[in-house]
Symmetry: C2
Subunit: 163 residues, 2 copies
């Protein structure tokens, strides 16, 4: 017992399985993301980040602040600034300074933005369905469960570093 513990401490642990899991996770995401990116470009001439931003706003009829968007999309603040700039320019987004807090910018989809997003989203959903089509409903449930656990684990690990 003491021997095995000593050994466990001195022997470098083998984390090859976790590493493989991480690479596989990354491969799946990259594969699907690339496919979605290409289809968005070909069918609608829109980039994936723009689509993602519009998706966030579609769920928030009263608009969102840039910080909200940044947190939800898990991207940097500066990134959102540029993305929003281009989408306002193209008429998809409306941006105004909050009246109660002049630091805050509230953005919303314009009528055009909402219409275009809905059109894209409908088709997008069928792409995703097809990409995952070989999974059974049980597979989907099980993956959801395991990925929830993965997310929680990663958040704990990430949080501990910052704490």
């Amino acid at each position: 017992m003491l021997d095995s513990e000593t050994k466990a401490v001195e022997t470098p642990e083998d984390h090859a399985e976790e590493l493989r899991l991480w690479l596989r996770l990354l491969t799946c995401t990259t594969l699907i993301e690339g496919e979605v990116r290409g289809r968005l470009r070909q069918r609608f001439d829109v980039t994936l980040p723009r689509f993602d931003l519009m998706a966030q706003l579609d769920k928030a009829p009263d608009g969102m602040t840039l910080s909200d968007v940044s947190k939800r999309m898990m991207v940097s603040n500066g990134n959102v600034t540029g993305l929003v700039e281009r989408l306002v320019e193209s008429g998809h987004l409306d941006r105004r300074t909050s009246e109660t807090d002049r630091r805050v910018q509230v953005i919303r989809l314009t009528k055009l933005g909402r219409a275009e997003f809905r059109r894209m989203a409908a088709e997008h959903e069928t792409w995703i369905a097809d990409l995952f089509a070989d999974l059974t409903p049980k597979d989907v449930r099980e993956l959801m469960r395991l990925l929830a656990k993965t997310k929680a684990s990663a958040q704990r690990s990430a949080g501990r570093r910052r704490a």
Copy 2:
């Protein structure tokens, strides 16, 4: 039977579950990737793409062509060109034109590149292990299986589009 089939065709299918699965998959990957990116920067002042490229080369002692790298990393050719350029510049990579086919560039890790990569990889492995630490060995196995199935499904779907 005919009624239910007719209905299935006319009613827009509900793919909300697959959509949620995709978003969760993306969240997990983004979360972990961001964490790894930050740690690589803080501990080693290296970017994630550089690390990934060196990881590919570490597994290929005889070197790889740029196309090989591009396929393995699932990024565009032009992307690899730039990455390699900077890593050759910093002395981590060695690049030479193939003697049998003058179109081909073969790249390898230099002694410095290999040493630095090994040092980083050892620590990187512990980060990944910690990020996934709340998963049981059974969870890991099950995730591997389901992600393999997901990858196959996505490849089928992606392939059909190009075919």
